[in-house]
Symmetry: D2
Subunit: 339 residues, 4 copies
């Protein structure tokens, strides 16, 4: 049994991570770390876990690494995470980090967007971006994975086939993204007050969301061209789920729906967690929430290709993907605990 | 034109109050007071008011009373309110107070439940409980109204006819109440986080909600008997609306649906804001939200009378009722601005 | 008092229309027509109207026109509406039609999209498109208004200033639209089942929504150029409200946020129902629902202008706009009953 | 591997059942039957199942029994179910029936409430009521289980400890129940239209819900006394979850919270799916949805005991409980596939 710890156990993503890990036959949760000192039981923080996991959360310290861990899921916020991750990797403990701290190969890009100096230069250089559909072989060999953002996952999986084949203009892409409220985190703020979110839709961070450079950075590296996107996220009155509606311009205006379907079918033919929709069926977030699936459909119109993708932001956009990465890193069946 | 001020302008109830007052033909809002010092425009706090009311909010002070006000709506929290109300009443300004500070005739009862000494003994003694359906004549003559709580309004209107006629046992009453989230106020807390409220229902303050003594106190006074209720409130994933399902025991077991309908029809026959439902139709909160109506239905079963009432907690449960009280106090048509 | 009738009284838009008209000081509802024969009271169909309007609905017939009507709001479905409208106009009764039957100047375009022959050639030719912000003078003089679609209103108001000034490429516009469920009508279908809509977002009619040609048609006429849009609507788990996120390409890449703000401020400076947002504030549907406002914000990014608009689909997108049109047609103050 | 079939595969409960069975290590779904003739793939009906189960649904006929089934889950509506169940039992196939057809030992009671003659007298006599917490030993030995209703499960589990010990008056019990909309089934009706349910709460079937006699019948049998309840269900704007707030009268007025906790802890001490809450924590439906748990809390007040229970109506209230019953019937670990 692989012994795993969660560093930052009180996040919404951690709750989902725990639920998945409890169903995983090869894993045992041996440690839960929190940045508070009162040592609560995890089932007091999340009563949903009562009778399932009644472990006490330990206070994480910046000097010590908990014993008895083979792999750590770090679910701390960006800029905090990099203070802890090196402690684990130095001891030979595998790490899957949920923050943005290990998602960029370009340190200066990170520092520009996260407005902080990156203190783990070695880590950021060696970390692998944990999107198994694009980097499975690198993930197999690494000890440090930067787990992708939720919007990023939905967008990259939607665009990778077309960009890889050079079929669309890489600098004329619009991503109109819609997310449930759990994407805003668990801290109570005016933004997340029930009466502010319910019966409301709004755009936010227009022209300045941090997932925008992450998407461009990764797609540029993975498809060998300068990719530039226009990204606008919206907040939707639902707990979980992301839908991305993407507008791309084909280089060849005679390309057909059928052509595109073939490309996507080829690109994702062996992927257990990508499902393609055809025949005027389009993704619904309700079909992917509580699962690790990404559903994708495409539609050719007059002078655009529309690509629509849906994921659960907490699962394929965070905790499910992290477990998928763990499975790849540790040689387990990739769908273990996730199907 | 009556010049009115709102003391505590940033509450959800104040937004609703402003919207109603803007449609009232005899009233002009001349003052908005807040307990902060940055003098925001009300339309910056509530963008819904842009182009409708762009007044600047003034900092309220405990010594001065704003000039140019004939009537003040005080929407401050309990225990804070009583620090301001006497300043207004002393100057001859009419006051309608939204907190619990002027709802109890019995000072000690207030002090027990609100865990604070009441500092305005004269006010609490002379204030009139502002439920026009039960106290219209007293409201006409007073300068100080204690505006009822939301659960209280829905419960008292549902029970008053039966208790007044002595038809049910006054100490064997169960009130199972359900409220939308705006009832919890505008402050962001874990309790009001979207993801905690959405797709969830829960009971709270079981056996200890502060509206419970208010209901008992007022019903006892108004119906001349010791009324005791079992009150359990629940939080419902919706913005606004309250439904109370009330279980009472008839003294006469042969009483019929028809008998009860006659009693309610008689009791409320001239009331503009009470609507009675018959023939197996029951109140839905969606029919009363954004209105000042209270919808009520009754049903006789084996050994109980079930009474169901619905109001908008922010309108008939707060701001609409306050305007109704103002109309009564000032001799306007009672439905002015409210229909 | 203007005597008005509603032909098709059981639609969601009719309920909103009735509520507005009841507050309108110059109007009396004298007739409600329905396409069923059981003559229900309107307050039985919509219990929210109890005590407000208890009128009996009459069965509409294709031969007779109800007496005692000065103006008819026709809220029947497309292709049905044109069977009734001419009966009214022939008698000199003013008509505001909610369907698409009188929105197109080009009969063949209508027939292509609505898959039916248009049987009122004279009507479709003389009808005025009822968007007061663009056609106020024509509306003043007409007896027959085609009331705009909801998506159409939000999109046209967002784009008109830029297109009128020739500042964006008219054939490179993307409209990503999001609507509450009331936009789908009142008929129970799998699509509108609570459990299918709640906790879900999905795109629909991708590349084939009927509001797409309406938007292109009207914008082309009004701004004298061939406008072509890419329109994708989405269904959002909320009752009402539309948000349109629009991506346009500026002809002059050096155009600034400030330039754009000036243009919008100039274009809409005397409009009572258009509110412009600046300074990184963006529209929220919660600020416009239950009102006749359209809130608009713009943002210049690298190579796009993003325009975001929000309306209540049932008010500014239907019934409020119809009353605004009535006010213009009848010489009432334009905001009467709507503010 | 146990070969199971689902008869009535298009219900919401069937979707949940399939998801659970796919994770069950000892079971294989070999047959899906539907009452329509077009033989759809289950993943076309429920796109959420794509890549998980792409089985074709077969048309069920009243004469033949599908081959290759060891156990049948029958999810047909009441009065239809009993036309199919005997075909299976006769062939020695185990049956777990979701309708009310096999929940009553008293045929006449069933016939009164379901307004139909019961055509399987032998079945109704021998069927076991499938609430493992109360009837585990009988379930072990039977071939035919009547799976309990959702409200019934939540109510019986809440009341059984107190009634079994004779601590409350069995004829003075009030059950105020609240359910998500999936409890109303998948058929589109005015009742289940999104805009009718969202932002609304209402009571329904006041004094006449069919779960009322089921609760009384089973509790009377299981606790050897005539139990009579006052049951009022409410519809809550959420997809799934039931909360029951129950008001009972203690025979001994000196009974304490602590006494009650001991009784519940004793009664449920070995139950894997009942979780008890203490210390002023009360059940929230969000903690039990997507699980087979029933959370219960109690509170003693002046002259009542309040018991609150929460389940997922589709899991512990239907499909999860059915799998729990299957596990008991087949000798599998009781939590298999459910934890």
């Amino acid at each position: 049994m692989l012994k795993v710890g969660i560093i930052g156990a009180t996040a919404y993503t951690s709750l989902e991570l725990i639920k998945i890990l409890l169903r995983h036959p090869e894993v045992k949760i041996t440690y839960l770390g929190v940045r508070r000192t009162d040592r609560p039981k995890i089932s007091d923080i999340f009563p949903a876990l009562k009778n399932l996991l009644d472990l006490t959360c330990e206070t994480i310290e910046q000097k010590e690494v908990p014993k008895d861990i083979d792999l750590a899921f770090v679910t701390l916020p960006p800029t905090i995470s990099m203070q802890y991750v090196p402690l684990f990797t130095k001891k030979g403990i595998k790490v899957i980090d949920f923050s943005a701290d290990y998602r960029f190969r370009d340190k200066s890009l990170y520092e520009k967007w996260y407005k902080a100096q990156h203190t783990d230069s070695k880590g950021i250089k060696t970390a692998v971006y944990g999107l198994p559909e694009l980097s499975r072989n690198e993930i197999k060999k690494t000890n440090l994975v930067g787990n992708p953002g939720c919007y990023t996952t939905a967008t990259i999986l939607a665009l990778a086939p077309l960009l890889s084949k050079g079929l669309i203009y890489p600098e004329d892409i619009i991503v109109d993204a819609k997310s449930g409220v759990s994407g805003r985190g668990r801290e109570p703020k005016e933004d997340t007050h029930y009466c502010e979110c319910n019966e409301n839709i709004e755009a936010y961070s227009v022209g300045s969301h941090r997932h925008s450079p992450e998407i461009e950075h990764i797609l540029s590296i993975k498809t060998n061209q300068r990719v530039s996107i226009q990204f606008v996220p919206h907040l939707i009155p639902m707990n979980r789920g992301i839908l991305c509606t993407i507008y791309a311009k084909p280089k060849d205006k005679t390309i057909s729906d059928n052509d595109i379907h073939k490309i996507y079918n080829g690109f994702y033919k062996n992927e257990p967690f990508v499902r393609l929709k055809e025949g005027n069926e389009f993704p619904k977030t309700k079909d992917v929430i509580y699962t690790n699936f990404c559903d994708i459909a495409t539609k050719v119109t007059d002078n655009r290709i529309i690509i629509i993708s849906a994921i659960d932001n907490l699962i394929k956009g965070a905790s499910g993907q992290a477990v998928q990465n763990m499975n790849v890193m540790c040689g387990f069946d990739e769908g273990m605990g996730l199907l």
